[in-house]
Amino acid sequence: MKLDEERTRDLAEEYGVPLPRQGLAGSREEAADLADRVGYPAVLKLVSPDLPHRTEAGGVRTGVETRDAALETYDDLVEVAEREAVPVEGVQVQEQVEEGREVIVGGLRDATFGPTVMFGLGGVLVEVLEDVAFRVAPIDAAEAQEMIREVKGYPVLEEFRGKPPADIGAAADVVASVSRLVHENPAVETLDINPLIVHENGAVAVDLKIAVEE
């Protein structure tokens, strides 16, 4: 069973998994205030239980650069909801995460060893190449660094094609946090961060999903 968003965020916060700054706005003023808080550019997303293909319907707007743009975008998203005839729960206002190296971090309950943690490079090839490393949880950040160095694609995290090196330490902290989270919460069956965007300084878990026992 998928853990709801609020509890997912709470768990992430408790274990220090960095998520994009965000909030849910119920009015255009609230949306603008939130955008001020998360910083520009911001992303605004229509939140509705009946809109499965939100991006295709025009319910996600990136690159919102100013407070005025945030006010306008809020109105646009409400119009989208009217056009699609779906109810509106609100508008999610989120920090727009800068580009960086995409990696995946996972937690998995293994039949033999119990909670484990996984690290791999992100992108479309991860499932084909299976270039991932595992550890039995929990592990500390030093062990997580070692694990990150184990994947064959590791050199792309270092200085690569003119890009500065990614913050391996920040990625390792997330891996170690996830390992503690799955170890200390037996109800968590799987955890997926895909992607974790690793910047020159710091890392952000752009998409975090947790599945728990029924």
Binding site: T112, F113, A133, F134, V136
Partner: protein, 467 residues
């Protein structure tokens, strides 16, 4: 033969029971048979004809005597204490027989009988597990039995006794274990114990890794494993033991997993996780049974390496290149030597030889060149393990290289593993390697894999020391 003080005061109850299983004064063979070739007959034969002169009592309600010994109707009728019961009766009556063992106060039972979880008989398995909780240690079911060569005990249906030695061998597969007893004997490898674990309903790898750690005669534990019921328990035991553990984990792919699932009733875990778990708990992973014993043997003969820097010394360039390739495959470094070290190595060699790593001593290299080169390398602080290779040539007697390796192995804390490529002309050299405790292999790749085991054991011990 008695138990010379084996039940020490500090032993826990479970350990005491294992001790009585491996050093039994009295063994009951339940299902002992007069019919030649049956398992119940072979086990009885092994117990009465071996050097272990214990009281082996046949239990068989349909026989008066088996192999000249009076048979009992039930284990309950045997006089005095029974330490070990070896059970070879149909699966259906195993629970009844085990309950009688509990009533009798038997310390442990090796259940050879098959037809439990591996055959879909979950209910029978469950009953065996319940009985194990009443204080009887149960090995199996679906096992070959157990062997303790130190006292000449063969409580199994293996047709041969292994050579006595210091490798304890645990095997999930009984049939493979039985075959490897023959193979190790042919290879000249010595075993201290052979324990077939089968379905692992009670006694498992973790129990035995812990138990064997206290045994002085055990230098290394070698495991053939298809799955574990409790991975963390095994990791804890492996972390806690001072005895090196080498394991081959079979069932890596989907097809292998299907085979192991039907074979032992346990699900083979995901291979990558096993890899990680072994690494995290200092277990050295072998990928074939040959590699398992190659590595185990190296660990019994040489000290662990202080790092992963390998120097290759060879009188044949090709063998050196293959060794260097193998080092790369195993994650070992073959470092470039410093200029001063190259000079010292060159002093031992003729002018046209290469002092670079791999060090090529040329085809006619004898004692002086090997000795000089290995000594310079081991004393340099630039090298943690030496792979010494000799290829048989018409130009030189291999005994020179052999004497040099035997003398230099372990000097400055640098272990030597050796590789000998050739035929009958090498026998004297190999005898010297055996008598002087230098592991020797017929291929560079196998020697390098043995070196990897010494490197990993060193890492595991340093990690243990740091943690």
């Amino acid at each position: 033969m008695g138990r010379p003080g084996h039940i020490a005061p500090g032993m826990g109850r479970d350990e005491q029971r294992l001790e009585r299983m491996f050093y039994p004064e009295t063994v009951a063979v339940i299902g002992a048979s007069r019919e030649r070739g049956t398992i119940g007959n072979i086990v009885m034969e092994n117990l009465v004809s071996g050097e272990y002169a214990c009281c082996a009592h046949p239990v068989n309600p349909n026989a008066d005597q088996v192999l000249g010994r009076d048979a009992y109707d039930s284990v309950l009728d045997v006089e005095g204490d029974v330490d070990l019961a070896v059970i070879a009766v149909p699966a259906k009556i195993v629970p009844t027989v085990l309950e009688e063992c509990v009533e009798k106060g038997v310390a442990g039972a090796a259940v050879i009988s098959a037809g439990f979880g591996e055959a879909g008989e979950q209910e029978l398995s469950r009953r065996v597990e319940e009985i194990a909780e009443q204080g009887l240690r149960i090995l199996g079911p679906n096992v070959l039995g157990l062997i303790n060569t130190g006292i000449g005990l063969n409580a199994s249906f293996a047709s041969a006794m292994p050579r006595h030695g210091d490798i304890a061998f645990l095997t999930q597969s009984g049939a493979l274990g039985g075959a490897l007893i023959h193979w190790t004997a042919r290879e000249g490898l010595g075993l201290s114990h052979v324990v077939s674990l089968g379905n692992k309903l009670d006694v498992d790898d973790a129990d035995l890794v812990r138990y064997l750690d206290a045994k002085e005669e055990v230098e290394v534990v070698a495991i053939y494993m298809e799955g574990l019921r409790d991975g963390r328990e095994f990791m804890d035991a492996a972390r806690a033991t001072d005895t090196p553990v080498v394991a081959v984990k079979a069932g890596r792919g989907e097809a292998g997993e299907r085979a192991t699932a039907s074979h032992t009733g346990s699900l083979a875990g995901q291979d990558r996780v096993f890899d990680a778990a072994f690494r995290q708990s200092g277990v050295i992973r072998a990928h074939t049974t040959v590699e398992l014993f190659d590595q185990a043997e190296a660990l019994t003969l040489q000290k662990p390496a202080d790092g992963n820097r390998v120097a290759v010394v060879t009188n044949g360039g090709g063998a050196g290149v293959m060794a260097a390739d193998a080092c790369e495959d195993h994650g070992l470094s073959v470092p470039e030597l410093s200029e001063p070290l190259k000079e010292r190595v060159a002093e031992a060699l003729p002018g046209i030889a290469s002092p670079r790593n791999p060090v090529d001593t040329l085809g006619d290299a004898g004692y002086e060149r090997y000795k000089g080169a290995i000594r310079a390398l081991s004393g340099s602080g630039e090298v943690d393990v030496v792979v010494g290779i000799h290829v048989e040539t018409s130009q030189i007697d291999p005994m020179g290289a052999a004497k040099a390796m035997a003398e230099e192995a372990g000097r400055n804390g640098v272990p030597v593993v050796s590789c000998w490529i050739g035929g009958k002309g090498l026998e004297e050299a190999l005898d010297l390697m055996r008598s002087r405790g230098v592991p020797h292999y017929p291929e560079p790749e196998r020697a390098v894999s043995a070196a990897r085991a010494l490197v990993q054991q060193g890492e595991a011990e340093r990690e243990e020391g740091a943690g």
